[in-house]
Symmetry: C2
Subunit: 327 residues, 2 copies
Amino acid sequence: MKDVAARAGVGLKTVSRVVNGEAGVSPDTERRVQESITALGFRRNDSARILRKGHTASIGLVLEDLADPFYAPLSRAVEEVARAHGALLINGSSAEDPEREQELVLALCARRVDGLVIVPASDDHRYLEPEMAAGVATVFVDRPPGNVEADQVLVDSFAGAREGVAHLIAHGHRRVGFIGDVPRIHTAHERIRGYEAAMSGAGLPVHPGWLAPGSTDPGRVRADAERMLNGPEPVTAVFAGNNRVTVTLVRVLAELDRPVALVGFDDFELADMLSPPVTVVAQDPAQLGRTAAGLLFRRLEGAHDPPCLMTHPTTLITRGSGELPPA
Amino acid sequence: MKDVAARAGVGLKTVSRVVNGEAGVSPDTERRVQESITALGFRRNDSARILRKGHTASIGLVLEDLADPFYAPLSRAVEEVARAHGALLINGSSAEDPEREQELVLALCARRVDGLVIVPASDDHRYLEPEMAAGVATVFVDRPPGNVEADQVLVDSFAGAREGVAHLIAHGHRRVGFIGDVPRIHTAHERIRGYEAAMSGAGLPVHPGWLAPGSTDPGRVRADAERMLNGPEPVTAVFAGNNRVTVTLVRVLAELDRPVALVGFDDFELADMLSPPVTVVAQDPAQLGRTAAGLLFRRLEGAHDPPCLMTHPTTLITRGSGELPPA
DNA sequence: TTGAAAGCGCTAACAC
DNA sequence: GTGTTAGCGCTTTCAA
C-alpha cells in the first residue's frame, strides 16, 4: 500500500480510502490510485486490517465430522448464511473428541473469529468462558453446552425417538431393540430416554440385551444387532439411533431370512428406494444450520437478550420398514 | 501481552517466549509469567502473529458443494492433512459459479492463506497469477486449471467412462444413453468423450437423443431420461455421469416396467443395497483430497520442481444394474 | 479533499 | 536469561 501511495504520489490514507471505496477522494486522484494498484498488482492484506479493526468477518464451525451426511448440509447452510453476511467460514471436525474440540475452538478464537457455531463433543465448556467474556458470540447446535450459558438450537430427540418407537409398538411389536450412539452424547441419551418412555408407556419391559448404546462403528452395530436378533428373547423390531447406525442395520437386516421392522433416526438419501423403504424420524440439518447461523449473526449485530433455546421438532416419515408386522 | 508483562514484572519478549514455549527463560520467571497469563485470561492474538510472521498456518479449499457426498470426504481428507501439518482449513463452496469461485479464492488470498486447493468451477485462472507469483501455493483437484500452470490431481474420467460404457456394451447393449453434467466442466466433457469412444469403438452409432449433458437438477435429468427411454429408439442401458445423476436415475428406472441397465460414475453409500444393486465406476474422493493436500504441503515446505499432474485410475464395481441384459 | 502520525499485538534482531 | 527497539500493513485520529 505504501508502494501504491508512492507510485501514485499520494498519501497512505488516500490509497486506503480508494481500496475501501470510501468517499472523499477526487475522481482524478482515484483514477491515479487505481492505476497504481493494478500496475503493482496490489491487494489489501486482510491480516493487517483485521489486526487494526479488531474483527475478522469470519466465523468458526466445529462439528463432529464434515463428511457425515447429516452434518454436511448443516455446514453448507451455515456457510450460506455467513456468505450473506459477508463472512468467511472456517470449519473443523472434532471427530467426537472433546480435546480436539477444545483445541479447534481455541485455535479459532486465537484467530479472532467473530463468532462460533459448535456441535459439542465435550460436555464441559468452561474453557470457553474467557472467550465468550471477551466477546466471541457462540451458538451451540444439535447438543447443549456444558457449564456455560449460550444460545442453543436443538432437536427434540426425546420426542422423536419416543414417536418412532411408539410407531413400532403400534404396529404390534412388543420386543423392540435400540441401537444408538454412546449415551455421553446428549442426543444419544435423549433418544435412549425416548425409547424407554415409549416402551414403558406401552407397559412393555426392556430386556437388557435390547438396549445397545455404543459407537457407530459398523462392526459394533452389527455385533449388537445380531445378538439381539438371535438371543433368547429376539426382537422383532429395531430402532436405530442415528443415520450411521441405520445404514449398518439395513445391511444386517437384509441378510436375515425373516422381516424385522426398522425405524431410524435421521433421514438419508435413497432411504425410500431400499426394500423395504426405510421409515425414519427425520430432522432437517440444513434448517438447524440456518437457524444457528441466524442466531449467531443476531448476536454479532448486537442483540443482547438472554441466551435462548430453540427446539426443532422431528417428522416421522413412514415408508414401509417401520410398518412391518412382527414375524 | 503488555499487561501480562507488566503484571509479571518482566519484558514483553519474555512473555512472548513463554507463550511460544521458547527456551531461555528461567523456571521461576516462567512460573510468574504463567501465573499472570491465567490471572489475566490472556491468549495470544494470532492476527498479530500472522501479520508479523508473514504466514498464516492456514490453507483454503474451494470446491463445488461441501454437502455433495462426493466432495465432503475430499474436504475431510484435506482437513486431516492440514491438521497433521498444524494448519487450519478454510473452505468455501463455489456452487459451480466461476465468479463465486474467484471471489472466494481472492478472499482467501486476502486473508493470506499459505496455500490453496481448488476444485475449479472456472476455466480461466489467470486471476490467480499475481497470487501465485506472490507465493500462494496452489493445487487443482478433480479438474485442471485454465491458463495457469500448477499441480493437478485428476481422475481418469475418460477411461472410467469408456470402461463403464464398454461394460454395458459387453452385456449386449447397443442403444446406450448418457446423462451427465454440463460439458463446460472438464470431467463431464471427458466422460462424454469416454462414452463416445466406447460406442464408436464397438462400431455403435450414437443417436442424438441418447446424449444428454446438462445440469444435475433432478427435473432435468428425469426429463431427459424419460425422453431417451420412451423415444423412437429407446435405450436399453444408461450411463450416469456422476453421483447426483445416478441417484435420480435410480428413481426413474425403478418406475419403469422393464429392466434398464445402469452404470454410474462415482460410488455412493448403499448403492449395493438397492435393487438391482448399482454398478459404478468408482473413484476415491478422500484419496484425491489426501494427494492434493500432500502436494500442497510439499510446496509449502519448499519443493520447487515443475508443476506435476497426478492422474488416479477408477475402479469398475459390478453389482448387478450394469449386468442386466437388454430387454 | 488530503495526509502525517500513532498504534493494533505480536515477533525478529540485537542488545545487555 | 532478559529487555529494548523496530516494524509487519493496515486504519484511526486529527490537523491542514
